[in-house]
């Protein structure tokens, strides 16, 4: 496909603007004015429409194909949420409006959405209060760890270590390190769960807290989670719940009831707001009673007369972690999603997400190795070690799936599984779609036996074939294309 610049024809135009009959004068300094015309493509409106329509048809997303990217919960984003978020009363609000003396009254609806969302997330997670401000999961992690630090500082605790299991998302150690903590990695046991014995050995008065994803990145729920929380609390540490995998337990178990002190929720995963291609996301953070004072400012409160206002009166707050009120449009979409599903609907989300993952796991077990093949939650992790013996690696299988019309699973993560292929179907997919995926995976496993070389060339059906994965990283050059 030609670039839009290559389609340019000198003199061609999209529209003609009537000649101005008002005298124009430009009072800008000459140094600020362009000497030559900007180098823009010259095209008709139809040329432009066709160009971008063609490009859009090459897009790959949940709206076009199955997207089982493990740990990312790429579920369908209901269109009704988009429609409500586009209402002019929401979409055209200026973020400074609530700051004006009378502005609070002009934005009561929006403030109520933020307030009510706080209440819903409290109920869903078993927490005492939430901040809606973090813009993504990792931002939520940093916010949570900063509150952890504020708590210890306030109590005069001398703490320097944060624990995280070796199956953790890379953002966990990164967030703790950015907040100034030393990170210690707790190994997994033979069942794929964080080893309690290893954690006990690492548990000292220096430990500020533990960051735990539950179910973990192998899709396994840790049955000892309560004991783990009690152990961390015994040294006055705090337990952080990484909500990346909340979809597996939403409506069934509340992190607060398990003993967690801080929770972040990825609205763009569990609560179905659009993501992929960079967001925008939202990562609200909830805390238990003893941490409420450290929440970022501002929060939305309900006055006794029933109106809503922004509250900045939090002397122990960790301060501002984002401008304004977080990604309001995303909070709104997630709010609509929760109200639409209700309590019963949310429970079925978790049930079907877990059922679907186990269906795929059982069907593919004969064809791919799986180290931890027990009942899983929302995702399962296969290992392409059997295929690797024929020279076909997880990467090649992922590329082969693209040719079959499926988005590849997450590869090479978690790092404790060799040749990892991490599959998360979500609750949204029909049995027919999953059967199509399973069939494609079985075909690929056979191809690894009969014609392994052919997979090295995949994908062959896409506009561009196998990309050079190292060139951009080794020879970064974004100035000249």
């Amino acid at each position: 496909m030609k670039l839009v610049f290559e389609k340019s024809v000198e003199g061609r135009r999209g529209l003609r603007i009537a000649k101005s009959d008002v005298p124009t004068s430009i009072n800008l300094n000459k140094s600020l004015l362009r000497e030559n015309d900007a180098d823009l493509p010259e095209l008709s409106e139809l040329d432009v429409v066709r160009h971008f329509t063609k490009l859009s048809r090459r897009n790959f997303g949940v709206d076009t194909n199955f997207y089982p990217l493990g740990s990312c919960t790429m579920k369908y984003n209901p269109k009704v949420c988009e429609r409500i978020a586009a209402y002019p009363g929401f979409a055209h609000l200026h973020p400074l409006l609530p700051q004006l003396r009378s502005g609070g009254m002009l934005t009561q609806g929006a403030l109520e959405v933020v307030y009510e969302m706080d209440m819903l997330l409290r109920e869903i997670c078993g927490m005492s209060a939430f901040t809606m401000q973090p813009m993504a999961g990792a931002h939520g992690e940093l916010t949570g760890i900063m509150m952890m630090a504020a708590y210890h500082q306030d109590k005069g605790n001398k703490k320097s270590i944060v624990l995280a299991p070796d199956s953790a998302h890379g953002t966990n150690p990164a967030s703790a390190a950015i907040a100034g903590y030393t990170v210690r990695t707790v190994p997994s046991d033979e069942n794929g769960l964080m080893s309690i014995d290893a954690m006990k050995e690492m548990l000292t008065d220096e430990v500020a807290g533990l960051m735990l994803t539950c179910p973990n990145t192998l899709g396994l729920f840790n049955p000892h989670v309560k004991e783990i929380c009690d152990l961390i609390h015994s040294v006055d540490g705090l337990v952080y719940y990484d909500g990346a995998n909340l979809n597996a337990i939403v409506g069934k178990v509340r992190p607060g009831d398990l003993g967690f002190d801080i929770v972040h929720v990825n609205l763009h995963k569990t609560f179905a707001t659009p993501h992929g291609g960079g967001g925008p996301g939202a990562g609200p953070v909830g805390v238990v009673d003893r941490l409420v004072d450290y929440l970022p400012i501002s929060t939305v409160i309900k006055r006794t007369d029933g109106t809503f206002a922004l509250d900045y009166d939090k002397p122990k707050s960790i301060g501002y972690i984002a401008p304004f009120y977080g990604n309001f449009g995303i909070i709104l979409r997630a709010y609509v999603y929760i109200l639409m599903l209700g309590k019963e609907g949310l429970e079925r989300v978790a049930e079907n997400a877990v059922l679907n993952a186990n269906y795929i796991k059982e069907k593919l077990k004969p064809y791919y190795d799986i180290e931890h093949g027990q009942l899983c939650k929302h995702e399962c992790v296969f290992s392409a070690t059997r295929q690797a013996k024929n020279g076909v690696h997880a990467l090649d299988i992922a590329k082969g799936l693209i040719d079959a019309g499926f988005h590849p699973p997450t590869m090479y993560f978690p790092m404790i599984v060799k040749e990892a292929l991490m599959i998360e179907p979500t609750e949204c997919e029909s049995k027919e779609t999953m059967d199509g995926f399973i069939e494609a995976m079985i075909e690929l496993a056979k191809q690894c036996e009969t014609d392994p070389e052919s997979l090295k060339a995949a994908p062959v059906t896409t506009p561009v074939g196998r990309l050079d994965e190292t060139k951009a990283a080794r020879e970064l050059n974004i100035a000249s294309v």
């Binding site: 590869m411 190292t470 080794r474």
Partner: protein, 129 residues
Amino acid sequence: MMIDADAGYLESHEWAKKQDGNVFTVGLTAYAIEQLGDIVYMELPEAGTEVIAGEPFGVVESVKSASDMYAPISGTVVEANTDIPDNPDILKGDAYDAGWLIKIEASDPDEFEDLMDNAAYKKFLETEA
């Protein structure tokens, strides 16, 4: 060559070899390099940096993952192989000679005895596979 007979090894797949006096060369094993896949970035310490056995001395990033590299022996870095970050493919052909990463003047050369020898590392790799 998958394993060098003269080197000592860590479970995290770094090796150390005695060069002369108390100076040891340190690098990543051929197994580690194979597992990492194409390396896109590497951060090595400058000469003069103090390193502690079992603690990270640098970072390696491949198309698959980013990992810390751990020092097999404590001491002071006397030289870093600056060719490697610019041309990591050197490692693929020669992990144990041209592919050395840093030289450490050991503060306690006896620490070398704590490392796995080539037979023990070979056995360890069998359990890994």
